[in-house]
Amino acid sequence: MTTAVRAKGAPRTGVDWFLLVMRVGLIAFIVIGLLGFVAQQIDPTNAWATWRHGDEGAARLSWAQFQGLVVTGLSQGAMYGLIALGYSMVYGVLGFINFAHGEVFMIAAFTGFIMSTKFDQAGWWDSGAFIPAMLFTIVVATIVATIVAVVMERVAYRPLRGSPRLIPLITSIGVSFFLQNAVILLFGPGAKGYAPFPDWLDKDRINIWQIGESDTGVPEYLLSVENKKLLVIVVAAISMAGLWYFVERTKTGKAMRAVAEDKEIASLMGIDVDRTIVTTFAVGGAMAGIAGILWGILFKSVIATTGFLPGIKAFTAAVVGGVGNLGGAMAGGVSLGGAEALAPLMVLDPWGIEGPSQLRDAVVFTLLILVLLVKPTGLFGERLSSEDRA
């Protein structure tokens, strides 16, 4: 509501002008970048490309490469979305940002690492028993993440219920440090690698409809997705759909929405507020748990600080989608992941920026700024309780 700050007819102040310039400037930068990308796809040595890249012009992406970017962005974004749900739900119900949520995700990824190495030692991992072992790993990691989230609520946040909201926010930062260092103490500071996944999951791809061959004789397909990324996207989609059903169609979900709307009136209606809040944490934790395992499948390694950056980006995704809005959190996650994968090559590279992939994090936060500038309530609008709206 940046624009609404200024009453109708009131003169524009310096800040308003500055924000307008920022808005127009950012959008122009992106649009020109995208146009430049389209132009260099058509002709790599067009005037713009030779101006920005020198006489040799820009590099052209093949269809397969472009697809690879989209798929990687989607799979990454699906994970951000899953984590963002936890931020968004807790914010909706309790009105504070649980910064320790990223650590729940990291602990799930660690659980997956422990399970996978144990199964590997037992000889289950690379045999026919892989699928049950993997399913069991997912279930255990999800349960561990749920327990961590619930214990966190019980130990760190419930005693602070009713205190100013800045207090649990700072507590959550403390919890985050505690969990990170506890993991370092238990497992050491180094990166831990998962036991190798079978090739059909890790290396193979699903190819649909061959459309030609590359210069080096590699076949090109209309659609070609790595199995693991497809799995990540599918599992994330199912989890999100399940969560949506849970919140919108079940009694507990209705209670959650009621508590988010107004705790006092909800308790007058006979809803057990404490229990509902625990449920919220548990469900958020489970989503982070699934995301943690998906992370393990994609990257096959985990480190004590794994939760930090994805956590911050998921929080950004929640804000981009509209805080408290579950659909928004999912959409925010996917659009953030997509932007992170595509923008370096589709916006920054056409501008001739060197090493655009180093700026991925900047892309994410610039997107946040852009969304707040243009639509301050997030893409899909905030859902805040009555007291927050006051």
């Binding site: 509501m1 940046t2 609404a4 700050v5 800040v15 590099a59 992406l61 093949s62 397969a64 490469q65 697809q67 690879g68 970017l69 990687t72 990454q76 100013p164 909201r165 800045l166 500071p189 180094g190 990166a191 690698g193 190798p196 290396k203 590359s214 080096t216 590699v218 090109e220 070609s224 790595e226 994609l298 990257f299 096959k300 390694s301 480190i303 600080t305 950056l309 994968a341 595509l342 370096p344 090559l345 590279d349 060197e354 090493g355 655009p356 992939s357 180093q358 991925r360 994090d361 900047a362 936060f365 610039t366 946040l368 700024i369 707040l372 500038l373 301050p376 007291e387 927050d388 006051a390």
Partner: protein, 492 residues
Amino acid sequence: MSIWGAVTKTLGGAKVKKLFMILGMFLSFTLVAAACGSTIEDAADTATDAASDAADAAEEVVEDAMEDDEEDAMEDDAMEEDDAMEEDAMEDDAMAEHLGDGSLGTVVVEAGAEVQIRSLNAISGDVAFLGVPNQRGVEQAVVDYGPIKGFNVTSGQGLDDLCSADGGQAAAQQIVADEQIVGVIGTSCSGAATAAAPLISAAGMVMISGSNTSPALTSDQQGNAGPDYHVGYYRTAHNDLFQGAAMAEFVFTSLGLTTAAAIHDGDPYTEGLANAFANAFEELGGTVTTVTGVAKEDTDMVPVLTEIAAGSPEALFFPIFQPAGDFVADQAPSVPGLENTTLLAADGLLNDGFMGLAQSEGMHFSGPDTRFGTNTNESTGVSAEEFLATYEANNGEAPAAPFWGHSYDAAAMLLDAIDAASWVDGDGNLNIDRQGVRDHLNGIQGYSGLIGTINCDDFGDCGSQKITVILHNDSGDIPGSLENVVFEYAPQ
């Protein structure tokens, strides 16, 4: 009412959001600044052809060798004088015979106290595999060397450079605050050295690194000091101009590939090496399609690999560290256009952690020539084989990274320098002339160390500069891969 509520009410919700937004802007600008601020141009400037300086270097060696003889003679005199002094208490003569003019002051070690040097290496975090063997090498050298003029030497508690500029700076501040310290063996990482070297240099101390390789820290090998060179900085590790040239020559001549790309992570070591490789490769007649960067924390490398795939290089050189290196090696074959690209890495990934991963199989690694065999350090009389036997006996494992010998030699050279620049005064105190320590190191020529023959040039490059490229075929047999040398490079 809660504080948050109060803030929101007084300012209006939108203002709070503006606050967030400005915070966000600040954050992203910081990120951009961090990404762009690194010394891209500097590295590019210094990263010039390494091979062509062979002639210059040869001339210098001849000249310096002559100086060297004089110096040796001087040292001998000094030592004789020391002996004489104890009997005759001829202080004035002894003072006249030590190295140095006192211009940087002296360190006085009281009778019974210990001579203080320090080890500053990456002993925690992802790069501990590199720093821990370095530190152990220093400690072992101190033990093997024994006392200097009857004074025991200690390397104290090993300090941590955290493999970062912040860590290097913090540790260097701690070091320069202690005036008893004569010199430092470290850092492990070039990034830490760029921050530590100016402080150590200004304090009149010396710093000898066993594993810094960034060209920016010494010189471009054409007689121009690097942007981060500071007097009093030395290293026994190679200059990456040689490693880059070695890798380029290997790719171009041995593998016969004509297009290549390189990835760095913004760290001075990785950036210097990636650029040195690119320049040397173009110099040989090859085409460099892309030199680009990743962020150290990145896990999803598909975007950067796609950027590289757009130029369809036949070889991809990524002289970075773990964990980013794990992800590049794992994800590269799945990116369209890089299916058959040859993957190459450097000494940053030449360690058990990375080479134990399945995705590292089939890769080539450049690194210092570690076939030390029976090379013997002339100051301690210990050979590389003896060192390794002691190392394994003390630590229960073999060194995880190849720079232990460089650190050992660095420590022995420093102790030699202290010996040459010191004298015992009438009160039985050991006086060490700081300028003298530098003078001794500047004059080192033909020194026999574990790593081979050591010659120091005018900008602190003392390494043997021998580089090998290995082919790694089996993640289960790392020692076998280390022996599997497919290419050798020596600058002369």
